[in-house]
Amino acid sequence: MLELSDSLTLGLPLVMNASVLILAVLGSLLGILIGAIPGLSGTMAMAILIPLTYSMNPQQAFSLLLTTYVAACYGGSLGAILLNMPGTGAAIMTTLDGYPMCKRGEAGKAIGICCIFSFFGGFISALFLAFFSPILARWALELGTYEYFAVAILGLAVISYISPDILKGLIAAAFGLWLSSIGTDSISSFPRYIFGKPELMSGLSFIPVMIGLFGIGEILSSIDKGLSRGKYSSQKITGLIPKLSFLLTQVSTAIRSVIIGIFIGIIPASGPTIASVVSYGMEKRIGRKRDIMGTGAPEGLVAAETANNAGTGAAIVPLITLGIPGDAVTAVLLGALLLHGLRPGPALFIDKPDVVSSFFILLLLGNFLFLIFGLLGSRFFVLALRVPQHILFPIVVAFCFIGSYAVNNSTFDIIILIVFGFIGYIMKKIDMSAAPLVLGFVLGPIVESNLRRALVLSDGNILVFFTRPISGVIIVLSILLLLSPAILRFDYSKLKRRIVGNK
C-alpha cells in the first residue's frame, strides 16, 4: 500500500533514469511549443505521441505524456497573450486579459504571471493528487450524475460574467448549446442534424471548432483591419519575473482559483477548460478588481491560468484512482496505462505503489520543467510579435489545418475548421465574444445527458437535484450567481423609504 510519506519517495528510483529524464525534458519543450502554437493542441499532441509510447516502459511513456500534458496547458497561454489566439481550449479565458495587456506593452509581464501561476496551480494540484488521492477518490465516488449536472449548470451560470455584452453572450452560448446537440445523443443513440454524414455521428469535434473560432476567425478579422508589420515590435520585454510584492497581492485570487480548479477538475468530462471559465467568472463576480477585468487585469490571468493548471492534476485523480478518464487527454493516458498492464484504480496503489509514486513525481517534475523553460524561454516567445503578420498568419493557418486534421486524421474536420473560421470572423465583426459559444458547446452534452440520466434514475423526480447535498449547494450557488447582479443593483434605500413613508 502506498503510504502518505512514500508518495513522493517510493518512485524516485524509477524516475532517476537518464532516458526518463530526457523524455521529460523533451515532453516539456514539446508541450510548451504545441500548446503555444495556435492550431496545435495538447489533445493532438497526445494522439500523435501515444503510438510512439507503445514500445517504451511505463515510466518512459508517462514521462513523455505527463510532461507534455501539463506543459501544453501552460503553453496555451502564450498564443492567447501574444496573438489573441488561445493555443488550447483551456486558455480561452486567458485571452480576455492577456491580449489587452500585450497591446498595452505588457506582454512580458503577462507571460511571467501566466508561467508562475500556471506552475502554482499545477504544482498544488499535483501535490494534492500525491497526498490525498485516496481521500479524493472516495469523494469523487460520491459525486454522481446529479452533481455533474449541477456543476455544468454552474458553468452555464457564469456565462453572463465572461461576456462584456450579456445579451450577445447569451445568444452565443445558446448557439453553442445547439451546436453540441449535433450528433448521436448519448442516452437513446438517436442521430440529430447528421444529414447522412457519418463524420457527424460523434458530434462536431471540439478542436476544429475552437481553432476555427479563435485562430482562423482572429486572422480573418486582422486581415480585415489591415495587416501590420510587427505592430508591437518596439515592445521591451520587462517584468518577466514579477516582484514578490505583486505576487502577494494575488494570493487570495490564486488560492480561490486553485480550489475551484481542483474541484472542477475532479469531475469527469469537465477538466481544465471549464475550471478556468468558472474560476474567471467567479473572480469577476467577487474579486477585488472585478471592475477592470477584461481590460488587461493581471487578476484575470491569475484566475484563468491557476485554475486550468490546477485542473490538470485533478483530472488525473478519477483516472488513476477509479480508472475513469475525464476528457480526451486523460482517455489517452488511460489507454497508455492499460497498454503497459497497469489497470488504474485503488488496486494499483496496493500492487504497484512505486509506479503510482513515480507518476506523481513525474507530474511534479513536469510542472517544474515548464516553469524553468517558460521563464527562460519567454524572451524568445515574445519574438513572435516581431514577425510581420503577413508571414506569421500563413504559418498559423497552416498549423490550424494540420492541428484540426491530426486529432482524428479526418479531412471532414478541416471543413469544420473553415466553417467555424468564418463564424468566428462574423462574430468578431458584430462584436460577439466566442468564449460563451465554446462554453455552451462544451457544457451542452454534460447538461443534457446527465439531466436525462438523472431523471431516469430518480423516476422523474426533479427535487433530487436539491436534496442531494453537494448538487443542492452547487445549484443554489448557480442561482445566486445568476440573480446577484439584480439583487446587488436593487435600490434598497428606495424600498426603505417606501416602507418608512408608508408608516
Binding site: I50, T184, M201, P268, G345, A347, L457
Partner: protein, 329 residues
C-alpha cells in the same frame, strides 16, 4: 541537343512504364508487394487500437511487408467503414469491423449505414470480449440466479450500460428476454462511468467485462456476478461463467479484420492466413492473456455464419425493444 533530351525522356518514360507493369504483374502473383493499411475506427490508445496494432505487428512478420494501422475515429467505427467500402478491393486497404456495425444497421435512418453482410470481405474474427455483470460488493446476491430472484422480488431495479449503440447495452435486453425479468436500463457514456455509479451506489448493477471491473473488484467496491463466456478468462480465473451457474447466456462484443467487398480469392487467402498466423502467434496470445482480452478466432466461413446469426439476433432484439427503424418494424 533537344533531340537527345527527348530521347532520354522517352526512354525514361518507357522504362517507368515497363517497371510499373512489372510491378503489377508481380503484384498479381505475389501479394503483397507494398505496405498494407488497416483503418481503425477508434482513437489511438483505446482497446480496439492496441489490439489491432498487436495483430498488425504479427501480420507483418507473416506478410513481409509493413502493416500500418491508421486511426479514423468517429461514429462508433462507421467513419472508417464508410471509407473502407469504397476502396479498391486489392487487399491493400483493410479495416476493423466491430459487432456494433450490426446495431447501427438497424438503429435509425438518418445515416446510410453499411451492411456488413453485403459490403465487406471478411478476413477473420480475431477477438471476442465477454460481457459480465458487476454489482456492489456488499450486495445480498453472489450469482446470476440469485440476482434474478432479487430482481423479481424488487421491481424497478436500475442497471447501467453503454449507449444503445453499443453491443453491451443489448446484453441486458437479451437477458431480460431470456429469463423474463424487467429491468430499467440507464445508459452511461462508457462502462467505466457506469461502474463508478455502481460503486457509488447510484446503480444496482451494470454490465462490464471482467478486465474493466477488476480494479474496483480488488478494492472491494464492486463484485462480479459472472461473465457470459463459455470458459473462464485466463487472466481472471476467479470470475465464474453464467453457464457454470446454470444460466445458458453467452454475449460477446467482437472484432474482425475486413476488406472491401470483392477481394480476389488468391489475395484474400493470403490475408486470411496472415490473420490466422498472427492470431496464433505466441506474442499475440501472450498479449491477449495478460491484458485480459478474450481470444476468439473465426475464419471467413465460420465468421460469416457468426455474422449472420448476430444480424438476426440484433434485429429481433431491437424489434422487441421498439428501437428499430421504421422499415424493419
Amino acid at each position: 541537343m533537344r533531340k537527345i533530351f527527348l530521347l532520354i525522356l522517352m526512354s525514361f518514360l518507357l522504362f517507368t512504364f515497363l517497371f510499373v507493369n512489372a510491378q503489377e504483374l508481380k503484384a498479381q502473383g505475389n501479394f503483397p508487394t507494398k505496405e498494407i493499411t488497416i483503418l481503425c475506427g477508434f482513437s489511438a490508445g483505446g482497446g480496439t487500437d492496441v489490439l489491432t496494432r498487436k495483430l498488425a505487428q504479427n501480420m507483418e512478420i507473416f506478410l513481409g511487408e509493413p502493416v500500418l494501422v491508421v486511426n479514423r475515429p468517429g461514429g462508433g467505427g462507421l467513419v472508417s467503414m464508410k471509407e473502407l467500402v469504397v476502396e479498391k478491393p486489392d487487399g491493400y486497404t483493410l479495416g476493423v469491423l466491430l459487432g456494433n456495425q450490426f446495431l447501427q444497421k438497424y438503429l435509425a435512418d438518418e445515416v446510410s449505414w453499411i451492411d456488413p453482410l453485403e459490403e465487406v470481405t471478411l478476413i477473420g474474427v480475431f477477438n471476442a470480449d465477454a460481457w459480465g455483470i458487476a454489482v456492489q460488493a456488499d450486495a445480498p446476491y453472489d450469482t446470476l440466479p440469485e440476482f434474478i430472484d432479487y430482481v423479481k422480488e424488487n421491481p424497478n431495479i436500475k442497471v447501467g450500460a453503454g449507449s444503445p449503440g453499443s453491443v453491451y447495452y443489448w446484453a441486458w435486453e437479451a437477458l431480460m428476454d431470456m429469463v423474463d425479468i424487467q429491468l430499467n436500463i440507464v445508459p452511461y457514456e462508457g462502462t467505466s462511468l457506469a461502474l463508478k455509479a455502481v460503486a457509488g451506489g447510484e446503480l444496482t448493477a451494470c454490465g462490464a467485462g471482467a478486465p474493466e471491473a477488476d480494479s474496483l473488484v480488488r478494492s472491494d467496491l464492486v463484485k462480479m456476478l459472472g461473465i457470459s463466456a463459455e470458459n473462464r478468462l485466463a487472466a481472471y480465473p476467479d470470475v465464474p461463467t453464467f453457464m457454470e451457474q446454470g444460466v445458458d447466456f453467452v454475449w460477446n462484443t467482437w472484432r474482425s479484420i475486413v476488406g472491401p467487398a470483392g477481394i480476389p480469392e488468391e489475395v484474400s487467402n493470403i490475408l486470411v492466413d496472415a490473420v490466422r498466423e498472427a492470431f496464433y502467434s505466441e506474442d499475440y496470445q501472450n498479449f491477449v492473456d495478460t491484458q485480459g482480452f478474450g481470444a476468439l478466432y473465426l475464419g471467413p466461413e465460420d465468421g460469416m455464419d457468426f455474422y449472420r446469426s448476430q444480424d438476426t439476433l440484433f434485429k429481433s432484439l431491437m424489434k422487441n425493444a421498439g428501437k428499430i427503424r421504421e422499415e424493419y418494424k
